[in-house]
Symmetry: C2
């Protein structure tokens, strides 16, 4: 293609609206433009890149036996009501009514529609296993769209669904997807880590997220450099750090003492001269509208995800101050488990075996010392705490790393959640009706592009891998007005096309500096520059990543690019 | 691929819900399933076919220099308000509000969004011309979705938009699209006709529709077999048929006579013993909320499209009975132009030069004879009538044919409609701000598939062209349990794949009849059957269209298919 004919609206200035690098570069390189909050138009370059990513995703899904479909974005409310998610999705779901006032929504994901197709058509175990996928636009009314294409309200997703007769089949489908996802992210040039994750609103038993380390991300991942353990922060486990001071061993009873104005754990530690690890933190949570008291070691934070899982709750939140006073007659800063009645108490496992701690007395400005779980109150123990900096690996004891990441893929074992709620059954070999076991697997296509930019850029722009860059090579004559240069450029461009390279000829009548800057900004992996050395039969081959330059013979230029691109 | 692993839910029974052939076959062949009224899931086969159609459309758009983009389905109300179409689109537009109660709609077409991108980025004539396209999902809340994929509420469209400095540029872009569309429909195996059409809500000056003759269609096209004239019925012109009886030549004045109970033209013709061609038909229309009297020869019908165009009206309708009585003091059956005041009168050109006709007297049960346009009332003449069976070509006098058709593509010269309303200007070579002239071009992808089925089927199923069929060839061993047959089938299947043929191996343990029926139903163009003649080294090659069968050598089978497929 000829650059002079293309619509590539690059910008020299930084955009005030963009905070993260990928957003900034996508705007400056003329890939995208915003139409509304969290809603972007993909211009020529972005669509070109997305088509390459789509091609890779499609190939890898086909390779594991996936069958491509295309389901509607317009979903009737009925199927979402059957699964119970019409209510659960809340404001995140775009809802509308048609001209006959029938309720519709825009698909956020397609478990419901896929299950409704499956239950209409699958009758026998002989039709299993199945993997169905689509590459399609999803809609989510995000509260805070941000970071360019990283958190948007409309995006392209590859979502797939597996249907199996037995858990072993689901395991196999899950494994196939794991492998396919690794190949997809490898081919897109991403460094990623696969981590244990929570299933959230999807339901199901096991889930793995594919995470790309980046400061632009909104997720946190915990990894162990020694044993390879990795998990989403919401779900990660660790050894608790050692106590700053051992518990006093005496077998005493709780004893009330006056703590005027001491509300926080830090206040109490200073006031009692006992470290935070000796304090017991009491949080009033609400799980599916019921109050629950959650206890943690003073220096620990609650993981709402773990708490929700332990309570098997759909929705959890922190209680409001007025609810706490109404329920317990004391301010949040003075609550504690001793004497607490008619409320479930759960405690983090780090409190198991502890004795004589300090806790709230359920009376404003009073606390208790000598509080011992089991003896002074009853609680169910769960892993409730969020891993913190400095925690050690539960497997091997190494200090864990916590890093910010972008989620680019997520695979779930759904189990029987949708088969149960929507009645998906087949006859097994014995002629009995059995439930089908399902999996659900997603990849965000714009996320791959954004993550690739976050991982591959420098101060001058993107340095995308050849597999997903909008063009593989740009052929740039320094002076287009110089006939020799132009003819050589045209010849090299043709040679590139003949070798099957996705080539661009920068035939614009612009200064060389402008052309170089544009090509660097949009991230074309290779540039062949035709300049003064043409007289000696040489041109310059520049590799975008690292800006490594070398001279090659005119006749070899295209082949050299093809060789280099094939190695990536 | 192996048929045994695929999800191809063919049905033996006819579906009660499907009236037209393509709908019936898409359901029976397991291509689609309905999710809601006018909302379909594309299953494996349909998506496979759509991807092939998409590939053809993309190649031909790229060939004319189109640049692919991808615009959001979620559109903010603002851009549609700017163009004035937020109101105009009425109930056909899906509207919704986001969590902050901001008005959004789902894109029915993308003139507004494309124009908003263009005005933000195009500054100079040097950036023109541009052709931007996308292959994307559109949403229209049809009043009566019907005929399977022919009239739906969500569908895939290739829409493109051209931006030029001057009308000659638009002409060139329009021509390029015309050629591209011809190539697309040719490659998809469609017989079609390009006809003059109305621009409707799109605005603009010139438009051409691409029509496929089919009883499943909802459009009517007028064609002349002699001179090649063709147009949409709404827009077609013709010579009026001759008068059944000449007008009386006397120069008289209108004379009232009693016509008790004679309401219709047919009534009056019988009552007055003068043919319908001697009667003047008076219709009260409403154009943009103003009443207009439209006059036609008694045997002619009004074309609302032509009427709207002549009045330059956005919206036209027939007046309601109570409105007519209120405005004119007479029932619809007795209205006429003589003495009519304070109302615009338009007359069809077939009334020009007529004298002494019969018309309503604006008094119930009375009519006038001796009514002469120009002498007895003033009217503006326009071509207002719809072409009728038996009319003759305005160019060459041949009798015109009227046939039912499916619209598969539509190209428009928009002119300055959106540049005007949304302020799209660039600087010309003289440094002056000038408006950009635009074109808009659309193809419905599901329409292509449906039209291809309507044109290519028989009682046993689809007979799709190889270019868009989900598979090119199916390799069918009669008895999969026969090892020789299975091995031969596998070898032929591999040979097909090696030749780049999109091949399917029917490895199901089913009776041969079932396998043949399924392959015929889903419309695979070629079948290689491995049966008893394998002992003599021969297999059967069956061409789906026409079911032509011949024996070929095992070793030649794949190559014979490749040869045949290449000729289509």
């Amino acid at each position: 293609m000829l650059w002079s004919t293309l619509f590539i609206p690059t910008l020299r200035e930084l955009s005030a609206e963009a905070e993260v690098v990928s957003h900034q570069l996508l705007l400056r390189a003329g890939y995208i433009r915003q139409l509304a909050a969290g809603v972007y138009s993909h211009l020529f370059l972005s669509q070109r890149t997305l088509l390459k990513i789509t091609g890779i995703v499609r190939e890898e899904m086909d390779r594991i036996g996936g069958q491509e479909m295309l389901l509607p974005a317009l979903n009737p409310a009925e199927v979402w009501k059957e699964s119970g998610r019409w209510d659960l999705m809340g404001d995140n779901m775009f809802r509308l009514k048609d001209r006959f006032q029938r309720d519709l929504c825009l698909g956020m994901t397609h478990e419901e529609v896929m299950t409704s197709i499956a239950r209409g058509e699958l009758r026998s175990y002989k039709q299993l296993p199945q993997i169905w996928y689509q590459i399609q636009t999803k809609f989510r009314d995000e509260l805070r769209p941000k970071s360019g294409l990283l958190r948007v309200r409309q995006f392209i997703m590859k979502d797939s669904y597996s249907f199996d007769l037995a858990p072993e089949g689901l395991d196999a489908a899950f494994d196939k997807h794991f492998q396919a996802y690794c190949r997809i992210f490898d081919r897109c040039g991403l460094s990623y880590v696969a981590v244990e994750a929570d299933s959230g609103a999807m339901g199901g038993s096991q889930s793995t997220e594919f995470m790309v380390a980046s400061d632009a991300g909104e997720d946190f991942v915990v990894t162990c450099s020694k044993c390879g353990y990795s998990a989403n922060l919401e779900k990660a486990i660790a050894q608790a750090s050692p106590l700053a001071q051992p518990d006093p061993p005496e077998d005493t009873s709780p004893e009330k003492f006056h703590t005027p104005g001491q509300k926080t754990i830090a206040d109490l530690a200073a006031f009692t001269k006992l470290p935070e690890t000796s304090q017991m933190k009491s949080l009033v949570m609400v799980a599916d509208n019921k109050p629950v008291l959650a206890l943690l070691r003073g220096d620990h934070q609650l993981s709402e995800t773990k708490f929700a899982a332990s309570m098997k709750a759909r929705e959890v939140r922190t209680a409001l101050a007025h609810e706490i006073v109404q329920w317990f007659g004391a301010e949040p800063g003075s609550l504690g488990p001793v004497g607490m009645k008619n409320i479930a108490i759960v405690a983090d496992t780090a409190l198991e075996g502890r004795v004589n701690m300090i806790a709230g007395a359920n009376q404003d400005d009073y606390h208790l010392r000598g509080v011992t779980p089991g003896r002074d109150f009853k609680a169910d123990f769960y892993d409730l705490r969020q891993v913190a900096t400095g925690d050690r690996c539960a497997n091997c004891g190494e200090v864990l790393a916590i890093q910010k990441t972008i989620e680019v893929g997520h695979i779930f074992k759904l189990g029987y959640k949708y088969s149960d709620s929507m009645g998906l059954k087949v006859l097994n070999a014995a002629g009995e009706e059995v439930k089908v076991i399902m999996g659900s697997y997603g990849i965000g296509l714009e996320r791959i592009l954004s993550a690739a930019i976050e991982q591959h850029h420098d101060k001058d722009g993107m340095s995308l891998p050849a597999s997903i860059a909008p063009f593989t090579v740009v052929v740039t004559p320094v002076y287009i007005a110089d006939n020799d240069q132009r003819h050589a450029a045209e010849e090299i461009y043709r040679n590139c096309k003949d070798l099957g390279l996705d080539a661009l000829l920068d035939d614009r009548d612009e200064r060389a500096g402008v052309k170089f800057k544009d090509a660097e900004l949009i991230g074309i992996p290779y540039r062949i520059t035709i300049g003064k050395k043409l007289a000696q039969g040489q041109v310059e081959l520049v590799t975008r990543r690292g800006k490594i330059s070398r001279d090659v013979n005119v006749g070899d230029a295209a082949r050299e690019v093809a060789k280099a691109a094939a190695q990536v």
